[in-house]
């Protein structure tokens, strides 16, 4: 089973990298670009076929390590 994990910066937390990219896109003439937020994308191969168990474990992985929930949110998708 494969998991796709998305870690994003909480809306109320400043994202200076996102701001810099927004500025660069404006410089390139993409003036339609509003706010840009940069996050992380992780792909995990899981050695299980039990979806419920995988979801449970992924939640623990995210809470313990993959995201810092003080400043980040997370969500994940399971495939296979």
């Amino acid at each position: 089973m494969k998991a796709k994990v998305y870690v994003t910066i909480k809306q109320n937390v400043l994202d200076p990298q996102g701001n810099a990219v927004q500025g660069a896109l404006h410089t390139l003439g993409f003036n339609e670009v509003g706010k840009v937020r940069i996050g992380k994308y992780l792909e995990l191969d899981l050695d299980t076929n039990d979806r419920a168990q995988a979801e449970e474990k992924l939640k623990v992985m995210c809470e313990k390590l993959l995201a810092n929930t003080v400043v980040e949110d997370y969500r994940f998708e399971l495939e296979g």
């Binding site: 400043l14 200076p16 990298q17 810099a20 390590l65 810092n68 003080v70 400043v71």
Partner: protein, 230 residues
């Protein structure tokens, strides 16, 4: 008094911390590797700066699960003196020993220079040798030192007197409320982005950091009933 300086793969301020203890208070000090499983011999634990485990994923994210960290948590509960400097501060927040998180500087630049710090709490184990409100000079060297807490936690930090240092002049990283260092509720665990171990002699640009080390010796002596060094 016995100091431990933790060493993670990627620590690079461990020697500075060790030498700072030797040069300021001259007490016993040992390097303790990240794999250690017993810190019971130590009265103070210094978590030094650097790039532990390459700072992969997030600064301090992987270091928080090093074997020694279980012992650091135990020591914190026992009321031992723990100081996290720079990457050490990041590790302590990731480990949940201190509130908040440290994120990318708002300038996106690695800032490495002297800063003025206001001592906001001169009652902690690491700041009792300063005057309340005193402005001291200590260098910073970080790219991810912007301290973040939500409004609710900030209010709690203020109410509990947990803000230890604020940037006195320009805020170098965009931290919430100009915060440069905080402590836990009990006051025995302190974390800060600036590097006091790099400011222990005038020839280094400032000797103000030395008093963090004399402070903890004072605190330890007071706790153990010996005469203060002052």
């Amino acid at each position: 008094m016995k100091f431990a300086v933790l060493v993670f793969p990627g620590s690079n301020c461990d020697i500075d911390c060790y030498k700072a203890v030797e040069d300021t208070v001259g007490e016993q000090v040992d390097y303790v590797f990240h794999t250690a499983t017993d810190l019971s011999a130590y009265d103070a634990i210094l978590v030094p700066g650097g790039f532990s485990y390459g700072d992969y994923l997030r600064c301090g994210a992987i270091a928080q699960f090093a074997p020694v960290m279980a012992e650091v948590k135990k020591a914190a509960e026992e009321g031992k003196f723990i100081l996290g400097i720079c990457n050490g501060f990041q590790i302590l927040t990731e480990a949940g020993l201190l509130p908040g998180a440290l994120i990318r500087n708002n300038s996106l630049k690695f800032r490495c220079h002297q800063v003025g710090l206001t001592v906001e709490n001169a009652k902690t184990g690491f700041t009792n040798d300063f005057a309340q409100g005193e402005v001291i000079t200590i260098p910073i060297a970080h790219g991810e030192g912007s301290y973040y807490v939500d409004d609710e936690t900030l209010a709690a930090l203020k109410a509990n007197d947990q803000i230890v240092f604020r940037y006195a002049g320009e805020n170098p990283n965009g931290s919430v409320d100009n915060i440069a260092g905080v402590c836990n509720e009990a006051g025995n665990v302190v974390g800060m982005m600036p590097h006091p171990e790099r400011a222990v002699k005038e020839i280094l640009g400032s000797a103000d950091g030395a008093r963090m080390f004399t402070s903890v010796l004072n605190a330890w002596r007071e706790r153990n009933g010996a005469a203060s060094i002052r």
